[in-house]
């Protein structure tokens, strides 16, 4: 009798039916074939013939398969089995993880840390670097800067902006803005507001529709127009009590009466701190109209559709070259550059964030390696299980898949915990991040972040699951079953060792990074800024609108304010300045040699320009090297004098005494040098040495010409040297500054030490996060090497027992184990040092006073890790000496 079943099954194989259903059909058709065969034989057919006919009729020419395909549920072969298998794997995986709750908890925690840290950092990167700006069609929003050979990016002169705007065809429109402080009076306490002078075109360019009212009309953006103001949502809500009838009401800002015309929407992210917006033409006209003055203007533009940045750049550059020919005195050597608005916002923080992305990735890999080792250990314990499954017919791939499913399950669980950690971690990162971190309000856990976490966790699960999975699948059933429960493989140990070496290597890299950052910050803190940072209090101030009308009244009001503050007990000296070192916001001025008229722009030089009162030097404790500083007698009527720093002195008069010599400064004309001071690191503790403009000029506030006096009156900083702790006298200062009219505010009160530490915020941030990562890495690596060595000792119990029995001393046993462990550590250290040597170069831009791959740092890191590894090995080594030879041998 032919084997019908086999023949028919062959026909059906192509359909990939469910096993039970296939068996049923095979049985029924086999029965039919047999009936038919018997019938044919009964009718006289030969055996061969009967068999051929019966088979042909049952399934011949694939007819059966074709017909069945339409009817039977032929789920796509792989998918069907795969899904069915997956459900099984998942169920089994859940059970296994639940059964080993302790293992699961430890592994999940390690992974959750890694995934959580990655999610937190990614959510920052996502919000800051990746997400487009929250404006319509943000890719076309550009910023335009002036450039010179000295400066890759400088603020724009208003007349140049007007010319660009008129001549350019690449932009739908352009707008200029200037951040400024506003003294808000007339409603009780005088109050300082942050605000912006803006072109009327700004809001249309950004695509911002006011929440209430309207933006500025073109005719309001004129110097002779009545002042209008658009206010921020937060200011309206908190300060003005969300007054529904605010439109048309008048606010007194810097003594101007400005009618409210609009309230901006709550989610506007443009200059987040700005509370009020005033048309830029209202800004002090003296400075605004001068082509030679660059009063901190930013210029924004929206590209026309289809215009590339390159084309726009070329056009603006060509307009600028025309302007340079037309106005050589102010514009020679000036060009312009177009930058994406987003790039400009985030460019400075990008290297820091990318560094952290790399570092946090390493942390995750270390966590993966640790969990992989845990899984390896467990897969050894589970060897019997796999052996039995293999013996029962499980394919290798099926076991690999089962194990991968378990590890992905593990990492998905970890991702869920990690997300919680990330929410918390993101807040932590933001708290540690510099205040200036752009777009920080846009950092949220959004769908992109969730997707990222999901992807990371799946990849992670596969990554750390692979080695254990293959190890498990390679179980040789005979060997494992024979060996019994005490199975252990040399292969596993090798893989584990590699993982531990990798962990140590990565920990070296992270520690090296953290170490370099720590050194940079430490060195920066020891940099001499050129003045004494202790016991200095700084604060913004503004004069009463009542005195702003006349320059002499302004001068008098300042002198009186200084007198009142100087009388406060504890105040040793007090001064006004327009520029605080390390605080950002610099004032530059053009100067040239000799006493002649201003030469073309490309023959002038630039210097930092501080406008100060006589006690400035004493308050700051800047050393006076030659001549004298200013006195109260240096008034407007006298010929203008300046004090310069030693950098400028060497620059202009190398090898000579500059005191009494003359040179020329823009606007002021010829000035005489009365003194030379030490250099102050205005640009920052780190960047000052590399800054292109380092020459410094001090000029007495009381000699500021009348037409610039009202401009100088806003945004002066009061600077006090105090005997007691600076912040303890703030309220006394506030009372004295307020003055007889009680409408002069102080704001942004900071000690110089706060300013200095703020200037290091970015580095400190990178250092802090790197330190946390490095510490985590070190801990994980220590746990990793400890685990491997403990296991090795357990495995070698028998061998160690024999050695002890043969007379090995404790020392020898400890040495044996330590050598094994330290060989591992040495491998990791060597690899890590090589990698660190290469990778730390990437962070060169963030370092100060220390080169990447600094040998001392690397050596310190290596010895620290070696010490930790030694400790981690010593504990198992000690245990090895406790091996009782009798017990060890009896085990056999």
């Amino acid at each position: 009798m032919p084997d019908w079943n086999e023949q028919i099954r062959k026909q059906l194989r192509i359909l990939n039916l469910k096993i039970a259903r296939e068996a049923e059909i095979v049985e029924e058709l086999a029965q039919h074939a047999e009936d038919r065969y018997r019938e044919l034989r009964g009718g006289g057919a030969t055996e061969t013939e009967a068999r051929r006919i019966a088979l042909e009729e049952t399934g011949g020419h694939e007819l059966l398969a074709r017909e069945l395909r339409a009817i039977e549920r032929t789920v796509a072969p792989d998918r069907g089995r795969f899904l069915a298998g997956l459900a099984q794997d998942l169920r089994y995986g859940f059970r296994t993880l639940r059964k080993n709750a302790a293992f699961t908890a430890v592994a999940m925690l390690a992974l959750a840390l890694g995934i959580g840290a990655n999610t937190a950092i990614f959510s920052v990167v996502n919000g800051v670097l990746l997400q487009p700006l929250a404006y319509p069609d943000p890719g076309r929003l550009m910023m335009i800067f002036e450039t010179t050979s000295e400066r890759s990016q400088m603020s724009v002169a208003y007349p140049n902006f007007l010319d660009w705007r008129r001549e350019s065809r690449s932009f739908t429109d352009m707008a200029a803005t200037r951040s400024d402080d506003f003294n808000f009076t007339g409603t009780g306490e005088p109050e300082h507001l942050s605000g912006e002078y803006v072109s009327a075109s700004l809001f249309p360019i950004l695509g911002v529709t006011p929440f209430m009212g309207r933006g500025f009309l073109p005719q309001e953006d004129r110097h002779d127009a009545a002042c209008a103001v658009v206010i921020g949502y937060g200011f309206w809500k908190q300060r003005l009590g969300a007054d529904p009838n605010i439109l048309g009401k008048v606010l007194t800002l810097n003594a101007m009466s400005c009618a409210v015309v609009g309230v901006l929407p709550p989610d506007l992210r443009f200059r987040e701190r700005a509370q009020v917006y005033v048309p830029i033409e209202q800004y002090d006209a003296g400075l605004l109209r001068e082509r030679e003055s660059h009063p901190g203007l930013s210029v924004f533009g929206r590209l026309k559709p289809g215009v590339t940045i390159k084309a726009a750049q070329a056009e603006i550059a060509s307009i600028s070259s025309v302007l340079a020919r037309e106005y050589p005195v102010t514009n020679a050597g000036h060009s312009a550059k177009v930058v994406r608005m987003k790039d400009d916002m985030v460019a400075y923080i990008r290297p820091t964030l990318l560094l952290l992305v790399g570092a946090v990735g390493f942390v995750l890999i270390i966590a993966c390696a640790n969990v992989a080792n845990l899984l390896l250990a467990r897969s050894t314990a589970r060897k019997r299980e796999f052996a039995i499954r293999t013996a029962l017919g499980a394919e290798r791939g099926r076991i690999v898949r089962q194990l991968l499913t378990e590890s992905v399950l593990l990492s998905l669980g970890a991702a869920a915990i990690g997300l919680l950690l990330a929410r918390w971690g993101t807040r932590l990162v933001l708290a540690a991040a510099p205040d200036s971190l752009p777009r920080s309000a846009e950092i949220v856990i959004d769908p992109y972040v969730l997707l990222f976490t999901l992807a990371v966790s799946i990849v992670t699960g596969i990554l750390f699951g692979l080695a254990p999975a293959f190890h498990g699948a390679n179980a040789n059933p005979q060997e494992s079953l024979k060996e019994g429960a005490r199975g252990a493989g040399g292969g596993r140990h090798r893989v584990e060792s590699v993982f531990v070496a990798v962990e140590i290597g990565l920990a070296v890299i992270l520690l090296a990074g953290a170490g370099l950052m720590m050194q940079s910050v430490w060195r920066l803190l020891r940099v001499d800024p050129g003045f004494d940072t202790r016991n200095i209090l700084t604060m913004g101030t503004a004069l009463s609108p009542k005195v702003m009308a006349s320059p002499p009244a302004i001068r008098l009001a300042f002198e009186q304010m200084l007198g009142r503050v100087a009388a406060i007990p504890g105040v040793q000296s007090v001064a006004l300045t327009n520029m605080v070192p390390l605080a950002g916001g610099y004032n530059e001025i053009f100067f040239w040699r000799g006493t002649g008229p201003q030469p073309p722009q490309d023959q002038t030089m630039s210097a930092m320009f501080s406008i100060v009162t006589p006690d400035y030097l004493r308050a700051m404790q800047i050393p006076l090297q030659r001549g004298r500083f200013f006195t109260d007698r240096d008034k407007l009527a006298a010929p203008p004098i300046v004090v310069i720093d030693d950098v400028l002195a060497r620059h202009l008069f190398p090898g000579q005494d500059p005191v009494g010599r003359q040179f020329s400064v823009m606007v002021l004309g010829t000035v005489r040098i009365v003194g030379v001071t030490g250099h102050v690191k205005y640009w920052g503790l780190d960047s000052d040495d590399k800054a292109k403009i380092r020459d410094q000029i001090y000029f007495p506030l009381l000699q500021v010409p009348d037409r610039f006096m009202s401009g100088a009156a806003v945004g002066q900083t009061l600077l006090l040297r105090t005997g007691p702790e600076p912040l303890s006298i703030v309220s006394a200062v506030r009372a004295q500054v307020a003055g007889p009219t009680q409408d002069q505010p102080i704001y942004a009160v900071r000690t110089m030490e706060q300013i200095m530490s703020g200037s290091l915020a970015e580095r400190r941030f990178a250092m802090l996060v790197l330190m946390v990562f490095a510490a985590t890495a070190m801990l994980l690596a220590a746990v990793g090497i400890y685990g491997v060595m403990s296991y090795a000792v357990t495995r070698r119990t028998h061998e160690l027992g024999i050695r002890v029995a043969l007379g090995a001393s404790r020392r020898e046993i400890v040495g044996l184990v330590l050598r094994q462990g330290m060989r591992l550590a040495a491998m990791g250290l060597a690899g890590g040092l090589v990698a660190a040597w290469g990778l730390t170069r990437l962070m060169a831009g963030l370092l100060y006073g220390v080169r990447p791959a600094d040998p001392a740092t690397l050596a310190a890191v290596a010895s620290l890790l070696a010490g930790i590894a030694l400790l981690a090995c010593y504990i198992p080594a000690r245990r090895a000496t406790a091996v009782d030879p009798v017990v060890a041998l009896r085990c056999e």
Partner: protein, 114 residues
Amino acid sequence: MEDRSIDREWKKGSAEMLLLSLLEALPRHGYELGKLIEQRSQGALRFHAASLYPLLYRLEKRGWIQGRWVEKSGQRRRRYYRLTAQGRKVLASQRRGWQTFVEAINRITGVENA
């Protein structure tokens, strides 16, 4: 080619009704059904297993017939199909339709012949 495909369609269309009719009286297994069709049509209609069983599965899937394994002593078990209540209704309506169709054809072809 054309002719043969028409032939197949005819067969397919009517085959469902044939099987349902044969199951009306009592449950039968596949081999028996094939034999009955061949015998009663005096050899004009023949279904090979390769098309008979898929058809049965189709009817079963639609809920018109139901198969059940029946074991009889000394024999391999066989799968017997019986008509369901739904199958009975379908058969009745298919019969009516067929009758109407045949009568219509007869009327037309009869007129031509006259």
